[in-house]
Amino acid sequence: MSELSQIQVDLNSYSFTGRQSAELPDFSSLTEESKQELRMVGVDVDAVGERAGTFLQFDHSTVHCKSSGKGVEVLGMRQALEKYDGLPEYFWKAMDPEKDDFTRAASREELHGGYFIRTEKGAKVAEPVQTCLLIKGQNVGQNVHNIVVVEEDSEVHIITGCATSHGVTSALHLGISEFYIKKGGKLTFTMVHNWGEDVMVRPRTVGIVEENGVLQNNYVLLKKVRSVQSYPTIYLNGEGAVARFNSVIVTPTGSHVDTGNRIVLNAPNTRGEIISRTITTGGTIVARGEIIGNAVPARGHLECKGLILGGGLIHAIPELQGCVTGVELSHEAAVGKIAQEEIEYLMARGLDEDEATSTIVRGFLNVEIMGLPQELRESIDKTIAELDASDAM
């Protein structure tokens, strides 16, 4: 099998029933190990009160769901469907259930939960809402559906961590996410993945952004996973809408990550930007990106930069599609290595080779531009420092 061929998922290998967990009213009963797993993907377990909301899903159950009640509603998906009569405006409305095998499977299999997050009109939610979708059992298939509605002129930052517990090597995560950003709304959506080494991940995401709405999307994947395949698509349907994607992806040996973003500029004065930084230390990365310009004036820029540190494969596929006169789309792609000159420069300042390499790698990945909360940034920095880049040169 070639490194670039798709990794096949056998849905029958995973169990979609029978992994229920009891409700978790607070985090005091969690083991230190579980807390650490949550911290790694951005869940602040120590200061839950400082978050605008917290949502936790373990396997097939929503175990914790609270919001501060200030400008934002956080519900489990099953609860939301009940409360809002099936969410007829939002549920499977941006995403077509017939899109592919995984959306079909997600619509057919039992729904295990996921979150429904909706801001109030005009609310600027100061603290992030944190959510975590955790798989705790071996060979569990998790099927979640998430909906985020950012009402007019409101703002929110959602940090979502998707992970498997320590010791879980094999599992399947199916996640449907639909984002609706209304007029003047702003959503910052940060997703951190931390999977077991044989885990299959098939998220499917669609977003619709109305007039002057903004989506800032951050994605971080630094640990080994068998296969991630995702290609979130954002439609900028309202004039002045903006979407920005920042992705930071590292693949150790054995990881296969095929991911990218698609932005469709459907209205005048829309802007789209896709930036990905990828590093392979032995795994395979297919770094995709597509910007489609259907209206003018509209601008889009795509940037994929990859480093190969001691083996592995990076296939950058930036695509631009301009459909009208006057559209401005550009891309730059590069796959390379760490320059010897940069290492030596830092070594001349007293950094040893490992310190120099990790300093350059950290700068290259440039997680700083995501504007993440300090504890999450520190956790990411720590993981980057531990990267096995010993064969970098």
């Binding site: 420069y345 001349a348 300093t359 350059i360 950290r362 290259f364 440039n366």
Partner: protein, 255 residues
Amino acid sequence: MLQIENLHVSIGEREVLKGINLNIDEGETFILFGPNGSGKTTLLMTLMGFGGYTVTAGKIVFKGVDITEMPTYERARLGIGMSFQRPPTIHGLKTRHLVSMCARGREIDVEGMARTVNFDEFLDRDINSGFSGGEIKRSELLQLMAQNPDLILFDEPESGVDLENMTLIGNTARALLDGASSPMPSTCMRDLRRRNKTSGLIITHTGYILDYVNADRGQVMYNGVLCCDTRPTRPRDILDHIGKYGYKECIRCLN
């Protein structure tokens, strides 16, 4: 402080340095003149231990330690610092962060140091990204201030620098080499200087830096060897001579 004995260095197959002998004492500043391509930069790169410069004979001793085979970072930690002529840009690495790393855990006032070289506004920029000639020099000096080495190698400190920046850069280089410049109640100036003086090796082909730093000695490098070594030579005299007659006299001298 630094002893270079019969140093032969090759880049690939080509021998660039052909038997260099040079001593720099504690607190001494040495100026190396020479035309482009004479091997001056190769000497600095070799002293710093960079890849691609192969020592085929001879040795380098710094503070009594043979550093000929030592990795670059150990030389830096032992007290050698270098001001690069064309340093690389490192994206995502903030100048502030690099400066604090240069101090290797010592407590330093990055902001205060940056102000002395008029560089505080650049601390949040990626290192060397889009820096002008003068900005590169100020950034290099700032890193050296944080690093606080005992021997500083300056690679063409005046290249690409406008006149206004030259004064600031020249004076800062001098301060780095001279150490503390105001007397303290407990110590007289002479002792203070002696204690704080840093050694320097400056390479230049214009010599403008001589307007600012007190160079103790100088020599000319030509085609991989040092000349003008028959007597203690004043850097000013060498410069005047080169100004008048060019480097062609050096060839005669060598022959």
